[in-house]
């Protein structure tokens, strides 16, 4: 096209339809002492064009303003629609006697203490009415086995719900001499900079004031975006059979809530309560005298994979941190 433009423009200098901003080549070709008269148009001739131009510019600006107004209007309207379940909402997870703003919930996992018994997984499923299918679990236990050749194998048969056999079930690990091994309980990290909440297209997954991330079952559309966005693999879609087995809404995203319905009534999460060896610790770090505040102060627990940049609120002690 440029070839044709360049070739044609000099031969049709009076053509007022030619672009007023010609290619540099055209300018170079034109003699310097005789500027092309096509580009010197009296102002009065341009007036109608300018008027049309300003009209279309006004129309364009009007359109832009309408779009912006629509967006602002929608944002204002959104203030009157509950973004998440609020106190007056019968489905609200927040109880009147509970002040979320005063809490600084912290969860610490001690991987040196965990024995991989799987009781936490069982307790979680029962407490939260999670379906039996092994691929749906809010918490699970992994076994990280390093063999003498330096290879790391990870296994988690059925999420560790029935404990672990003596030998790693990871492909290729059988028969290899083991150098080190530890159990790593996993759950939603309740990240402060959570990708799941920022990518949700309908605001169905949200932060509570005390920093827990919840899913509003009435808003979730089941697109799976939060699941692919979670670097810790903490989420799953509730399968269809959930409708028959439990009260959980099928087809929506689900994950650990730190048993929000328990902690806002002063109880511990089910997995913490049942752990026979105290590998899971939970509490309010804002309370300086609490055990969790003391652990955070004295033992310096660390985030798992801080490189993802999500600032997790679950902290780890023990070999998991050395491995990461």
């Amino acid at each position: 096209m440029n070839e044709q433009l360049d070739g044609e423009a000099p031969t049709a200098p009076a053509d007022p339809t030619a672009p007023a901003d010609p290619a540099p080549a055209d300018l170079d070709d034109a003699p310097a002492e005789a500027p092309d008269p096509a580009y010197l148009v009296p102002l009065e001739e341009l007036a109608p064009a300018i008027s049309v131009v300003s009209k279309s510019r006004r129309a364009f600006l009007g359109f832009g303003l309408a779009v912006t107004g629509g967006l602002i209007g929608a944002a204002v309207l959104a203030r009157f629609v509950p973004v998440f379940a609020e106190e007056l909402d019968p489905a609200s997870p927040i109880v009147p006697t509970y002040d979320p703003a005063s809490k600084q919930w912290t969860f610490v996992v001690d991987t040196a203490a965990c024995i991989g018994c799987g009781l936490c997984v069982v307790a979680c499923k029962e407490e939260n009415d999670v379906v039996e299918a092994p691929v749906c679990t809010r918490t699970w236990v992994e076994r990280h086995t390093t063999t003498t050749d330096g290879t790391l194998y990870v296994d988690s048969p059925d999420g560790g719900i029935d404990g672990f056999p003596a030998e790693s079930t990871a492909p290729g690990a059988a028969g290899k001499p083991v150098e080190a091994s530890h159990f790593q309980p996993r759950l939603c990290m309740q990240c402060a900079d959570s990708p799941c909440t920022s990518v949700c297209p309908v605001g169905a997954t949200y932060h509570t004031e005390d920093g827990v991330i919840l899913v509003d079952a009435r808003r979730c559309i089941g697109c799976g975006y939060c699941i692919v966005a979670c670097p810790y693999g903490a989420r799953y879609i509730v399968p269809a059979e959930a409708g028959a087995e439990s009260e959980t809404t099928p087809g929506i995203a689900d994950k650990c809530t730190w048993c929000y319905h328990r902690i806002n009534q002063g109880q511990l999460p089910a997995c913490v309560e049942i752990c026979p060896v105290g590998a899971r610790k939970f509490g309010d770090a804002a309370d300086e005298t609490s055990e969790i505040a003391q652990i955070v102060r004295e033992q310096n627990p660390q985030q798992l994979h801080p490189e993802y940049g999500t600032n997790p609120r679950v902290l780890y002690l023990g070999p998991s941190i050395e491995e990461a």
């Binding site: 044709q4 699970w140 492909p171 949700c200 297209p201 699941i227």
Partner: protein, 461 residues
């Protein structure tokens, strides 16, 4: 449109709406169709029938008919959505050269691209609605509670707006509203870039998936879009030329050579981006990036990557476009089909490679060494059903709508363009070719001669 008794007056045609009369009219219409057309429509209806069963199976709560899992959450349905959505944008990108920039040789795309774009985007929406578990909530949730932090929300904004603009474009085209049409075309061309870019951002913002993460993902999405849309135009214009449909003279003389030109440009861009992607992946240091690329080039995805995407989708069409002996309508058709298959393989490989190497366990599931996903028959049927739906409705549009070129465009008064007033300047009248006049070039080896007066402005309003 008026209704009286048992008939409906639709654009000057009387259509019976009583069940018996309508049935008889349909039967008459079918009998009047050539055998090839009946066979084609029958085949498409058969595919659609299978897809309808699949759609019923996948309605809530039938999600288990998809092969996805927490470790492989996005499967063929997402690929199909991406494919149809970017094809829509590509159609507008290719045609905008004629509709917006007024380049004469791309003018034949005007009407057909708009119909195809509406159908392609509708198919994309239909597929994503079947994939979502609560699609109605999506509509209300996205409108009532805007989530501007979510690329998916922006994607909904752009593609939703896109459908409205495309519908306006089609309506204004067939109802002769040239100014509205020009604005709609210009807006469509703008959104044609924004929409696939945002679709790319849906994947590109995910730090959890290193293969998808990064700025090149949206760029690749736009490049794939351009290629897919152009390839679809190639297939359609071959059919227009071969079956001597409306405006077929310009199909062989202008449209198909233009498709060849755009395909060549698109293939060069996409190949360069593909090379960059593989090199960046193999030398990547972010955990998971390199492993995902290895899975693509020498792992479980290697066959479809090298066989379908690279050889069939990039190398073969490039050769078909280069060799003089295949630089004809049939060669263009073959190249277009191959390119379209290649783009599909490209997007399929992209969605798969992003998830195939898990950097963590997913809800207690350890996937080693690769996460596995096999599309189910239901998913495959739904994708084929989407193609059949597009083809069927387009065939009907081609048969019952006036697809002949009308040159409804008038130029927008861009500040940098001075308008041509034919009445004041009769000396230049002969420069403006009559609407629909074929350009003399039929070989496609050189660009069709284009009049400067027609470039950038089109006909006078």
């Amino acid at each position: 449109m008026t209704a009286s008794g048992h008939t409906l007056n639709l654009g000057g045609r009387t259509v019976p709406i009583g069940p018996r009369a309508a049935g008889a009219a349909v039967a008459r219409e079918v009998r009047s169709m050539p055998f090839g057309l009946r066979l084609w429509i029958g085949g498409l209806l058969a595919v659609l029938a299978i897809a309808s069963v699949a759609a019923l199976l996948s309605l809530p709560p039938g999600w288990e008919v998809f092969g996805t899992s927490p470790s492989f959450e996005w499967g063929l349905m997402i690929v199909a959505y991406v494919f149809f959505a970017i094809m829509t944008s590509g159609l507008c990108l290719a045609s905008s050269l004629g509709t917006v920039f007024g380049i004469e040789r791309f003018r034949p795309f005007e009407k057909r691209h708009a119909i195809l774009a509406v159908l392609s985007l509708s198919t994309a929406f239909l597929i994503i609605a079947l994939d979502l578990h609560y699609p109605i909530r999506m509509v209300f949730g996205a409108v009532l509670v805007p989530s501007p932090t979510s690329p998916m929300w922006w994607m909904g904004v752009f593609y939703g707006g896109y459908l409205v603009v495309l519908l306006v474009e089609v309506w204004s085209m067939f109802s002769d509203h040239p100014r509205i049409h020009q604005w709609a075309c210009t807006l469509a061309a703008c959104i044609a870039i924004l929409a696939p870019f945002t679709l790319g951002a849906v994947f590109g913002v995910l730090a959890a998936k290193p293969y998808w993460f990064g700025i090149f993902t949206p760029i690749q999405m736009v490049a794939s879009a351009f290629l897919a849309g152009t390839a679809l135009l190639g297939i359609v214009f071959y059919a227009v030329h071969r079956l001597r449909l409306a405006d077929h003279e310009r199909s062989a003389s202008i449209a198909l050579p233009s498709v060849r030109l755009l395909l060549a440009v698109g293939l060069v861009i996409v190949s360069a981006l593909a090379i960059r992607q593989v090199v960046a992946g193999l030398t990547g240091t972010v955990p998971g990036h390199r492993e995902a690329t290895i899975a693509l080039v020498s792992g479980p995805l290697a066959l479809q990557f090298w066989g379908v995407r690279v050889i069939a989708g990039l190398v073969a069409p490039a050769l078909l476009l280069l060799m003089p002996m295949t630089r004809n309508p049939a060669g263009t058709l073959a190249a277009s089909i191959l390119v379209l298959v290649g783009v599909f393989a490209d997007r399929y490989g992209f969605v798969m490679a992003g998830q195939i190497f898990p950097t963590t366990t997913a809800a207690g599931t350890v996937s080693y060494p690769y996460a596995s996903y096999e599309p189910t028959l239901v998913e495959i049927s739904l994708f084929l059903g989407g193609l059949a739906l597009l083809a069927l409705v387009y065939t009907l549009a081609e048969r019952y709508l006036d697809m002949g070129e009308t040159d409804v465009h008038v130029g927008i008064n861009w500040p940098w363009i001075r308008r041509h007033d034919a009445a004041k300047d009769p000396a230049h009248d002969h420069d403006v070719p009559a609407a629909g006049s074929p350009a003399p070039d039929i070989t496609g080896t050189s660009p069709a001669p284009v009049d400067v007066a027609a470039i950038g402005l089109g006909a006078e309003s």
